[in-house]
Structures are given as structure tokens and as C-alpha cells.
């Protein structure tokens, strides 16, 4: 699914105007625990999260996410935006909550990119 389509579906606002949004997103993953993100995600997905600190972008970079959506209209710190621009990871904020966001994207055909790993 194209990221631009995802932004429309989620009533999202793009926070990184200089980062390319015409990219393909292969799946979705939602979590607030960065270790979960690192442990159980597959590359090529979009990350839905309620956290907005710079580590979210670093985590996304390491786990090879293509974009990040902040839930419930959250706004990231300046440093977060800076790193995202540097690493070319589009940041989006959506007024919707995690459940609603996941539901909409899944219904629109975006598969879950959560891999089944034991804790």
C-alpha cells in the first residue's frame, strides 16, 4: 500500500515535509514497547506508536520500518523530527487511536508484520 494512501485512510498529517511519501508500505506493526518492536517486527512495515521520543526513529531505523504514525494526534519532539529527516523516515500524526488505526489499515488490506517470537 502506498504511504500516501495510508495518510488519507488515517486522516494523517505529514510532519516531515522533505521526506519522500511516495513509497510502498508492505505491512503494519503497533507497539509502545521498543524492545517488542525490535524483537517481533518484519522489515518494510509502518510503525504505529504512542511514543514520540528520538529513540522511536532509531528503533524504526534498526528494525527497518519505512514510516511511523503517532497515534492520538501526538506531536514528536524537535529532535525526533530531525533524526527522521536525516534517516529519511516519514513521520505522520493521526488523530485516531491505536485500535482504530490498526483496524482501518488492516481492513484496507495492510497485513500484520508482527512475527511470532516467544518471549
Amino acid at each position: 500500500m502506498n504511504l500516501r494512501e495510508i495518510i488519507k485512510l488515517t486522516n494523517g498529517v505529514l510532519l516531515t515535509p522533505d521526506v519522500e511519501t511516495n513509497i510502498q508500505i508492505s505491512g503494519g506493526y503497533g507497539a509502545d514497547l521498543m524492545s517488542d518492536v525490535l524483537a517481533a517486527s518484519q522489515p518494510g512495515a509502518i510503525l504505529l506508536t504512542g511514543l514520540t521520543n528520538p529513540q522511536v526513529v532509531r528503533t524504526a531505523e534498526m528494525a527497518e520500518f519505512r514510516a511511523i504514525i503517532f497515534v492520538r494526534g501526538k506531536q514528536p519532539q524537535a529532535e525526533t523530527l530531525l533524526i527522521a529527516a536525516q534517516e529519511n523516515i516519514p513521520l505522520i500524526t493521526s488523530p485516531l487511536g491505536m485500535f482504530e488505526l490498526s483496524g482501518r489499515l488492516h481492513q484496507a488490506g495492510l497485513p500484520s508484520f508482527e512475527s511470532n517470537v516467544p518471549n
Partner: protein, 335 residues
């Protein structure tokens, strides 16, 4: 708003369900980036053929034929007053009026672009106006060049080639390190000093390490595993140490070793910290999405071998190893 432009490969192919590789995505991004970076003056044609308004069309046809172009700007007293294209000449030919002058058939409604604009602006204007060429003017409204879609394509290709060469040269140099420097055993060592509680820069070292590995020609999956492991380890240094520590990457042709060393506080019961969910992290760290007691568990999952040694009051050393199955760092596939 997104500018109007010609569809990219991704748009034409991506929506049909073909999955786009990271490599494709990079190329596409760069082309679009270039359409903003490149200025019209960098790609436009500067050596211009021009005609005067009194010139007969038969003469213009000759000029177009000799120079193999499909249109020329019309200049009077140094000012751009119109454009004459092959289509205009065809209109004249239909009426058998090749002896008519340029001024009778030229297009006077001028759509121009500025030499300082990005080429994306020209692409937009081409799409809106459906014109094949546009006069380029400077800040004093003087004609300084012409731009066609062909100029844009050439400009982007040239820039891409330059980019590609630079990255290729970097990759080539790095990936041949292990072939070009002969020893019985070559090791590349990268060290990073990590400050305690420096959350803002947390992950910077890991980001550099991952990039270095990719540049050295590491398999992307191995680079990802290393990246995740070393990132968890870097965050541990930031979260738990008294004075920070050193993050070290050692690359050899058959294995990658990553390690962290610090001088305290040290771990009393190592078996305990290895249990999933065990954590001593503060509320502040947990709010940042870390400190759930999964770091070492994650590291263990990503690497082939993990060793941890610690003495309370002295410090901790964590060593993570990943074996490279084939000669991965010579930049070629095996065989």
C-alpha cells in the same frame, strides 16, 4: 500539496501488487529528490537558435531541420516575444503559406519558467500546459535558455550517474578492504564512546555501525541482526551505566564481533538479568519504551553467541558475535 508530475516506476508498477525492493525505493526517492534539487538552469539548453518576427517560415523550417529542433524562440530587440514550433509551420503549410512571416504564425501567449526554479516546476508546467518546450527567463525577464522534457531526463540521468558512481566507489573501496589489504588475519575495529543518560543521541552509534556493515558488503539480514543487537546494547550503556562506556565493532571476513564495556555499576546476578521481563529501569526509561527487561533477550535472539561478564563495582563486558557463513565482505556473491 504534492506537485503534478509524471508517474514514477513505483506508481505504475507498485499499485499492481508487485513488491518494491529497498533498492527500487531508493532509486525512486532519489529521482524525486533530484527534481527538487536540480535547478532549471542546470539542465536547460543555453546555446539557442532564435528567429526574428520578420523571418519567412521557409527559412525557419530550414533552421529547425539543420539543428534538428522542433521549435525556436522569437526575439525582437533582445526581448522574447513568442515561440514558433513545427506545429505552427504545419498550420502554415496546410494553407500553403510558407512564405508568411514568423510573426503571423508564432505563439504569443508565452508560458515561461524561471532559471532559478527547480525542475519539478518545469515538469509541472509541462503537464499543465501540454507544451513540449518552455522558454527560460532570468530575474530580469530576459531569455536565458530553453527547456524540454528531454533536457530534464538527461539532467536527472547525469545526476543519478554521478550519485551512483560516488556510492559505488565508496562501496567498492570498503568492500574490497579485506581483499586489498593482505595479512594473515585482518580486523577492522570501530570504537564509539557512549555517554550515560544521553538519550537524545541514543542509537547514533548503532546507526553508524549498521551503515558501515552495509557499506562493507554485509548481507542485509546480517546487518539488520547486528543493528538490533548493538542498538539494545547501546541503550543499555545509556540507561544503566554510571559513566557510560565503549561500544566496539570488530569486523573480520568470517565474523562480526560487537562488544560493550563499562566501569559500573556492574551486575550482581547475571542469571537474573537474563530472565525475560526482569528490569531495574526507572519510570523515566520505561516511559521511553525501554527497560521492559527484554534487551538482553533480544540480543541473544539476534546473535550467534552472547557472553556477559560483570563484577559489581567494577563494570560489565558484553560480547556479541555473528558468524558470516560465506566470504561475505568481498562484495561478491559466493562462487
Amino acid at each position: 500539496m504534492c506537485p503534478t508530475r509524471t508517474p514514477t516506476r513505483q506508481e505504475t508498477h507498485g499499485r499492481q501488487g508487485r513488491s518494491i525492493t529497498d533498492h527500487d525505493a531508493n532509486e525512486i526517492n532519489r529521482v524525486e529528490e533530484l527534481s527538487y534539487d536540480l535547478k532549471i538552469q542546470e539542465v536547460m539548453t543555453v546555446k539557442l537558435q532564435t528567429v526574428s518576427p520578420e523571418m519567412p517560415l521557409s527559412k525557419v523550417l530550414e533552421i529547425l531541420r539543420i539543428h534538428r529542433i522542433s521549435g525556436v524562440p522569437v526575439i525582437e530587440d533582445g526581448q522574447l516575444i513568442g515561440i514558433l514550433s513545427l506545429e505552427d509551420i504545419v498550420r502554415a503549410m496546410e494553407k500553403d503559406e510558407l512564405s508568411a512571416t514568423v510573426s503571423q504564425y508564432m505563439t504569443q501567449k508565452l508560458i515561461t519558467v524561471s532559471s532559478h526554479d527547480s525542475i519539478v516546476r518545469a515538469i509541472q508546467t509541462f503537464t499543465e500546459s501540454r507544451l513540449g518546450r518552455l522558454p527560460v527567463i532570468d530575474e530580469n525577464n530576459k531569455l536565458v535558455g530553453m527547456i524540454t522534457k528531454g533536457d530534464i531526463t538527461r539532467g536527472i540521468l547525469t545526476a543519478l550517474q554521478k550519485d551512483y558512481k560516488e556510492e559505488e566507489v565508496r562501496k567498492y573501496r570498503a568492500s574490497h578492504l579485506f581483499e586489498d589489504i593482505i595479512s594473515d588475519r585482518t580486523t577492522l575495529v570501530l570504537r564509539y564512546n557512549i555517554k550515560a543518560h544521553d538519550f537524545t543521541r541514543g542509537g547514533n552509534a548503532s546507526s553508524h555501525i549498521k551503515r558501515a556493515l552495509l557499506r562493507l558488503g554485509a548481507d542485509p539480514q546480517i546487518a539488520r541482526r547486528c543493528g538490533i543487537a548493538v542498538y539494545e546494547a547501546e541503550m543499555n550503556l545509556i540507561i544503566h551505566t554510571t559513566n557510560g562506556g565503549i561500544l566496539k565493532l570488530e569486523v573480520e571476513s568470517h565474523r562480526i564481533t560487537m562488544s560493550t564495556t563499562d566501569d559500573g555499576p556492574g551486575i550482581a546476578d547475571i542469571a537474573q538479568v537474563l530472565q525475560p521481563g526482569y528490569s531495574t529501569a526507572t519510570e523515566q526509561v520505561r516511559e521511553m519504551g525501554f527497560g521492559a527487561g527484554m534487551g538482553l533477550v533480544n540480543i541473544k535472539r539476534c546473535v550467534d553467541k552472547m557472553e556477559i561478564e560483570s563484577t559489581v563495582g567494577k563494570g560489565t563486558k558484553l560480547v556479541m558475535r555473528i558468524h558470516i557463513p560465506t566470504e561475505n565482505f568481498n562484495g561478491r556473491k559466493d562462487g
